[in-house]
Symmetry: C2
Subunit: 206 residues, 2 copies
């Protein structure tokens, strides 16, 4: 999988003229990074006398964000695969009318999938925000800036993924599908901005 | 170096209760990711008949952001090292008055370094913004969302690094140094927000 590559190698591959990994995979990686930082702050809080009162909460958060990290790491590949899926459909034969129709249907189906995967990335990254807020409020105060970075990485993951939903919606003819997805995009865009702002306002450095 | 680890392994180490890699290293990685996406958009533009007019510009951008990516990858380690440097000073002996004074001086020096490294990360990531704007305006329009993601990753890199500058400034007694750094922080914070907004306004999806 892509996350088995070195950081350097993964970024090298991103930089190349191969279209994947692209913005969608990077969104998933950004979400996984937000999850990792949230886990770190929990881990730096667990076992400390001063934070005994929130010990159980921190353990729950850690387990939840560690699971989310795994899922977001899987989504790095899933996004690249869905893009490749669309490309493969474009290469289908289009000599006969039958072939043309089959190709058109396959492209529509693959493009829906290519919109759904980044939506899943956005939802998963958005799901981290509540836990990030708690670790910023109640976690080890020495690591509060790590919580701030997690909030910004989660916001960027959500918004980046949504750009990749939107660009795919442009190619989908099923109006009901597009309408429903566009509504979700709009809600998540708003929520990510609001939630990041709310968390950063709670990060006090003095 | 940290970037030789797998993406999965690097995030695993981030998530652990070891304080590094932390938010500063993640800021550098985020900047390197922005650089990689910018390079990708250039590479997807170079050699295309439709974009012949911007071919040279795109090659210049690619070379510049590829160099910036290397530097930001180095800064992932440099930030972790500077944090470890501060920790090492705190462990210096403090029995005699002489030892106490030497330890205090060493902590001050190491903390200045630990503020300067993330400032360098912020400046380097901010330096990508102009090129990101150009690739969004004039690069391959099929990759415009990758440019948008690059802008958001660069913004998050700058702001994340600046949190790590600020938390270190709190421990520095040299008022002139603190004042000068705080001024730079404030300017970069503003610039990153403004520049991201400006770029995203230029990303049209239809």
């Amino acid at each position: 999988m892509l996350a088995d590559k070195s950081v350097k190698g993964f970024l090298q591959e991103t930089a190349s003229d191969a279209p994947v990994p692209g913005g969608g995979s990077i969104a998933a990686m950004s979400g996984a990074t937000a999850a990792a930082l949230t886990s770190m702050v929990s881990n730096l809080t667990i076992g400390k006398k001063k934070y005994e009162a929130v010990e159980e909460t921190m353990k729950e958060i850690r387990d939840r964000v560690d699971a989310a990290r795994e899922q977001l790491i899987d989504l790095i590949d899933k996004d690249a695969d869905s893009f490749n899926g669309v490309m493969a459909c474009f290469k289908m034969p289009k000599e006969t009318e039958e072939e043309k129709a089959a190709r058109k249907d396959a492209i529509q189906q693959a493009t829906k999938e290519a919109a759904q995967v980044p939506l899943e990335i956005a939802e998963k990254a958005m799901g981290l925000m509540k836990d990030i807020e708690v670790i910023v409020q109640s976690g080890n105060s020495n690591a509060v800036t790590d919580g701030a970075v997690a909030a910004m990485m989660a916001r960027t993951a959500v918004l980046s993924a949504l750009y990749n939903v939107k660009i795919n919606l442009g190619g989908i003819k099923d109006e009901a599908f597009v309408k429903e997805m566009a509504q979700k995009v709009s809600e998540l865009e708003e929520a990510a901005q609001v939630q990041e702002k709310k968390i950063l306002e709670q990060v006090k450095l003095d």
